[in-house]
C-alpha cells in the first residue's frame, strides 16, 4: 500500500522558481568540493545545470536556497582543509542539510537519486513523486556521465565504449586535481 505524505511536512515556502546564476555558481563549486572533480571536469559532463534543476524540483526552492547559502559560507574558506571542515560541520553533519549533500554526492557519482531517509521526509519535505520507488536514475545523461566510472578509469556499461581491444591495455588514469575548487 502506498505511503501517504506525512502530515507533519510543511508545504514548501515560496521561493525563486528557478535557480539564479549565482545559485548555479555556488552549486558548481559545492559539487566540486563534494566530489573531488574540478569545476571544469563537472562542466564537461553537461550535468551541473540539469542536476541543480532536478534538486530544485525535488527538494524545493526554499531548502535549496538555504543549502546554497550555507554552502557559500563554507566554500569561502581558501584553505582546503578548513573548507572541508566547514562543509563537514555546517552541511554534512546537519540533520537538515546533511542527507541532501550526501544524496547529492551519490547523484553525481551514480546518476541516481536515492530518496532521503523517512525521518528527514517526515520532518521537512516529501522528496519523491512516488513514495514507494527506490533510487531513480535522473536521466540517461546523469547515468552516462556519472563520476564513479571516471574515478575508477572505466566507463558506464552501455555507453562511452572504450574501443575494440582497449580492455587489453591499462586505461589512461586521470590525475585527481591537486585542489578542486580553483
Amino acid at each position: 500500500m502506498a505511503k501517504k505524505p506525512p502530515v507533519a511536512a510543511t508545504p514548501p515556502a515560496a521561493g525563486p522558481s528557478t535557480p539564479s546564476a549565482g545559485d548555479r555558481e555556488v552549486f558548481l563549486t559545492l559539487s566540486s568540493a563534494l566530489t573531488g572533480f574540478s569545476p571544469i571536469e563537472l562542466q564537461g559532463t553537461g550535468n551541473p545545470e540539469p542536476l541543480l534543476d532536478f534538486l530544485w524540483t525535488i527538494i524545493g526552492a526554499d531548502i535549496c536556497s538555504e543549502l546554497l547559502t550555507v554552502a557559500a559560507s563554507a566554500l569561502a574558506h581558501s584553505d582546503e582543509s578548513e573548507r572541508d571542515q566547514a562543509i563537514r560541520t555546517t552541511l554534512w553533519s546537519s540533520p537538515k542539510l546533511g542527507p541532501i549533500v550526501q544524496a547529492l554526492v551519490r547523484l553525481w557519482y551514480t546518476g541516481k537519486w536515492n530518496p532521503l531517509p523517512a525521518q528527514w521526509q517526515e520532518t521537512y519535505r516529501w522528496d519523491h513523486p512516488d513514495p514507494n520507488a527506490g533510487a531513480i536514475t535522473v536521466s540517461p545523461q546523469a547515468y552516462v556521465e556519472s563520476l564513479v566510472f571516471a574515478a575508477i578509469a572505466a566507463h558506464p556499461p552501455g555507453a562511452k565504449a572504450t574501443g575494440h581491444g582497449s580492455w587489453a591495455f591499462p586505461p589512461i588514469v586521470t590525475a585527481i586535481p591537486v585542489t578542486v575548487t580553483t
Partner: protein, 596 residues
C-alpha cells in the same frame, strides 16, 4: 493483426529465438514456406525499435537480464526480479525446495537479446557421462557426430575464437578449420591471471590438474579471420536494420543485458538475413501466443497450432484466436515455454519425460582484491576462463565447473562502493581516491557448476495458475543435489588457491542476499544463482520410453512435431548451451527437410 487461418505452410515454427530463427533460415534457404509465430513483440526488428531497448536500459541501468525489455502482460517472461519461493504470484510459479533462478526473454530474437554470448563447445566426455564416469546419462550421439554442426553453428552465430586455444581441452576440429573471427582480445584482468597462474596445478580427488586461463569463444564480433571458409573469409554482421556491415565489439561492457551496437549475436540477425533471402516464403507473426498443439488422436500427427493474438504489448489487449497449419511443426520456445505448451496440449509425453530433468548451471561468485590495479569494469563481460577443470576423473564424485574471469569487477559495484564510502563519511578528493584505489583492484570469478538430470527437477502446469490470457503458467520444482554442491565446494577451494597464488585478497563472503540461494553442504554455505541456462525438459534419447525426442529433435510420439531448443539436451556439461542448441537445430533442420 494478421493471422494465417486457413493458409497451409510447409513448416510452422513456434518461437523466434535462436533455435526458431536458425530453423527458419535453414528451411527457407531450401525453398520451403515457413510461418514463425512469436509470443512477444517484434519492436527490435528495425534500428529504431532496437534503440528503444538501449534507451530503456540507459534510463534504468541495471544488470538484470530483462532490464531493457518493457514488461508485456500478454506474454510475460520469467524474471529474476520476480522470484519468490514458494511463489504462486510470480509468472513462473515456484514450488520446489529451491527457487529456479533463471529467466528468459519473450521478444522476437528471444533470450539472445540479453544473453552473454559465450559459445564454448561441449567436451567429448560430456556426451558420455554415464559410460565414462557413471553419472547422468549418455547422449545417443557423440561429439564427433555434432562436430560439423558446431562448425556451422559457429558460422551462423559469428563466433570469435582461435582453434589452438580450444584443442588442449580435448576438442577436435576438422582439418584446416578456423573460427569465423579471431579470439576476442583478452582483458588486462585476464593477463594478470595468465601471468600469475603460470605452472599452477590443483589436486581434485587425488589427481592433479593444471589451472590455466584460456580465451572464451564468444558470439561477438572480433577481427574476421581471412582463412575462414577455405580462405573466403567471414563478413561480420552487426547493425541489423541499418546497414549490413560488421562492427567489432567496441567495449560497451553491457553484453548482458543488451549490446548497444549489436556486435553481440542475437537471433534477429538470422531472422532478417532469412527474410531478405526468402521474401514471402518466410512469414513472421509476432504477438501470437501459442496456446495449444492440436493433436490428431487417430493419426498421432499435429493438425495445427492454436494461438492467441493481442493488440498492444504494453497492456493486456487480447484480440483473438487463430490456428496455424503446416505439414510439420517445430516448437522452439525455450525449455520452459516448450514444456508448458506440450503439457497444456497433452502432446509428446508418452514417456512422462516432458518437463522433467530441468537443469541450469548453479552459479557461484568468488571475489577479491588484486595486489595491484588490474583496471576492471571494461570490455566484454568475460573474455577468458579457467577452463581446465571442465573434465576429469573427479566427475565420478562431484560436478565439474567452468570458471569465468569477470571483466566487470564485483557484483553490484562500483555503485555499492559509492554508497558504502559516502556512508562512511568520505567526500571530495578523498572519496575519489578511495574509489580508484579499491575498484581498480576488484576481481571476480563467475563459476558455472555442472548439474545432473534429475526427474524431480521439473516444469509442470496447473490449471489453478494461469496467465492473463488464461493459459496455464509454468510451475517450477527445483533443487540442487549434493553432486553439484560438492562441485561448488571444490570450485570454491580452487578459487581460494588461485587467489592465494595471485596474491589476491579473498573477499568472498556468503550470506543471505536477495536474488541468491543460500545453500549449505557439510557445514559450508554458498550463494548460488541461476546462469540463465535452461536445459533438459524434452530430452533427446535412444527410445520413446525414456526420452521425448530422437537425436534429430523429432518427437517419438508425433512424426510431424520437432522440438528445437536447449530442452533437448539430456545433460548440460559445463558449456553455455546456446551453441550446442544451435548445432542440434541445424542438424534437425536437415531431418525436417528429409521429412517434407
Amino acid at each position: 493483426m494478421s493471422t494465417h487461418n486457413g493458409d497451409m505452410f510447409d513448416v510452422v515454427i513456434v518461437g523466434g529465438g535462436v533455435a526458431g530463427a536458425l530453423m527458419a533460415d535453414a528451411l527457407t534457404a531450401a525453398g520451403r514456406h515457413v510461418l514463425l509465430l512469436e509470443a512477444g513483440a517484434d519492436r527490435s526488428l528495425d534500428i529504431d525499435g532496437y534503440q528503444s531497448y538501449v534507451d530503456q536500459y540507459l534510463k534504468a541501468p541495471s544488470g538484470v537480464p530483462n532490464a531493457p525489455f518493457p514488461p508485456n502482460p500478454n506474454a510475460p517472461s520469467a524474471n529474476v526480479l520476480d522470484i519468490g519461493n514458494p511463489s504462486t504470484s510470480s509468472y513462473l510459479v515456484q514450488q520446489g525446495a529451491l527457487p529456479f533462478l533463471s529467466d528468459y526473454t519473450r521478444e522476437l530474437g528471444g533470450t539472445t537479446l540479453h544473453w552473454q554470448g559465450a559459445c564454448p563447445r561441449m567436451l567429448p566426455n560430456d556426451f558420455k557421462l554415464k559410460s565414462v564416469y557413471g553419472q547422468g546419462i549418455d547422449w545417443p550421439i557423440e561429439y564427433a557426430e555434432l562436430e560439423p554442426y558446431y562448425e556451422r553453428a559457429e558460422g551462423a552465430l559469428g563466433v570469435s575464437a582461435d582453434v589452438e586455444d580450444q584443442q588442449p581441452l580435448g576438442l577436435t576440429f576438422s582439418d584446416g578449420y578456423v573460427y569465423p573471427m579471431h579470439r576476442m582480445p583478452q582483458s588486462y584482468v585476464d593477463q594478470f591471471f595468465i601471468r600469475k597462474l603460470e605452472g599452477l596445478s590443483v589436486t581434485l580427488e587425488g589427481r592433479e590438474y593444471p589451472v590455466r586461463a584460456i580465451s572464451l569463444p564468444q558470439a561477438r564480433n572480433s577481427t574476421p579471420n581471412p582463412a575462414y571458409d577455405g580462405g573466403r573469409g567471414y563478413e561480420a554482421v552487426s547493425y541489423v536494420g541499418d546497414g549490413d556491415r560488421g562492427l567489432r565489439c567496441q567495449g560497451n561492457s553491457a553484453c548482458t543485458p543488451l549490446c548497444p551496437v549489436q556486435a553481440k549475436y542475437n537471433a534477429r540477425k538470422t531472422l532478417l538475413k532469412a527474410r531478405r533471402a526468402a521474401g514471402d516464403r518466410l512469414s513472421i507473426v509476432s504477438q501470437a501466443v501459442a496456446s495449444q498443439l492440436i493433436v490428431n488422436r487417430r493419426t498421432r500427427r499435429i493438425d495445427g497450432v492454436r494461438y492467441r493474438t493481442y493488440a498492444d504489448p504494453k497492456k493486456l489487449t487480447p484480440s483473438g484466436e487463430a490456428i496455424a497449419h503446416g505439414r510439420i511443426y517445430v516448437v522452439a520456445a525455450n525449455a520452459i515455454e516448450t514444456a508448458r505448451l506440450l503439457l497444456v496440449s497433452g502432446a509428446a509425453n508418452r514417456s512422462d519425460q516432458v518437463g522433467r530433468n530441468l537443469m541450469d548451471h548453479p552459479y557461484l561468485y568468488t571475489w577479491g582484491m588484486a595486489p595491484e590495479p588490474v583496471y576492471p569494469y571494461r570490455g566484454p563481460d568475460t573474455t577468458s576462463g579457467l577452463e581446465t577443470l571442465r573434465d576429469g576423473a573427479f566427475r565420478s564424485t562431484h560436478a565439474s565447473f567452468r570458471m569465468s574471469i569477470a571483466n566487470w569487477g564485483w557484483s553490484g559495484s562500483p555503485g555499492a562502493d559509492v554508497d558504502q564510502f559516502v556512508a562512511s563519511g568520505l567526500f571530495g578528493r578523498a572519496l575519489r581516491q578511495k574509489l580508484h584505489d579499491a575498484c581498480t583492484r576488484h576481481v571476480r570469478f563467475g563459476i558455472m557448476v555442472e548439474q545432473l538430470p534429475d526427474p524431480d527437477n521439473r516444469i509442470t502446469v496447473n490449471p489453478a495458475y494461469v496467465d492473463a490470457l488464461g493459459i496455464p503458467r509454468p510451475v517450477a520444482t527445483y533443487n540442487i543435489a549434493p553432486y553439484s554442491l560438492d562441485g561448488a565446494r571444490a570450485a570454491r577451494e580452487v578459487s581460494a588457491r588461485v587467489f592465494e597464488r595471485a596474491g589476491v585478497q579473498d573477499c568472498t563472503e556468503y550470506k543471505a542476499r536477495p536474488g541468491f540461494q543460500l545453500v549449505g553442504r557439510d557445514g559450508r554455505t554458498f550463494n548460488l544463482m541461476g546462469s540463465g541456462h535452461i536445459v533438459g525438459t524434452h530430452r533427446l534419447g535412444t527410445d520413446a520410453k525414456s526420452s521425448v525426442v530422437n537425436s534429430y529433435l523429432q518427437t517419438w510420439d508425433h512424426p510431424n512435431l520437432f522440438l528445437a531448443g536447449a530442452g533437448a539436451m539430456p545433460t548440460i556439461g559445463t558449456s553455455n548451451p546456446t551453441l550446442t542448441t544451435a548445432a542440434l537445430t541445424l542438424r534437425a533442420a536437415e531431418q525436417v527437410l528429409r521429412e517434407l
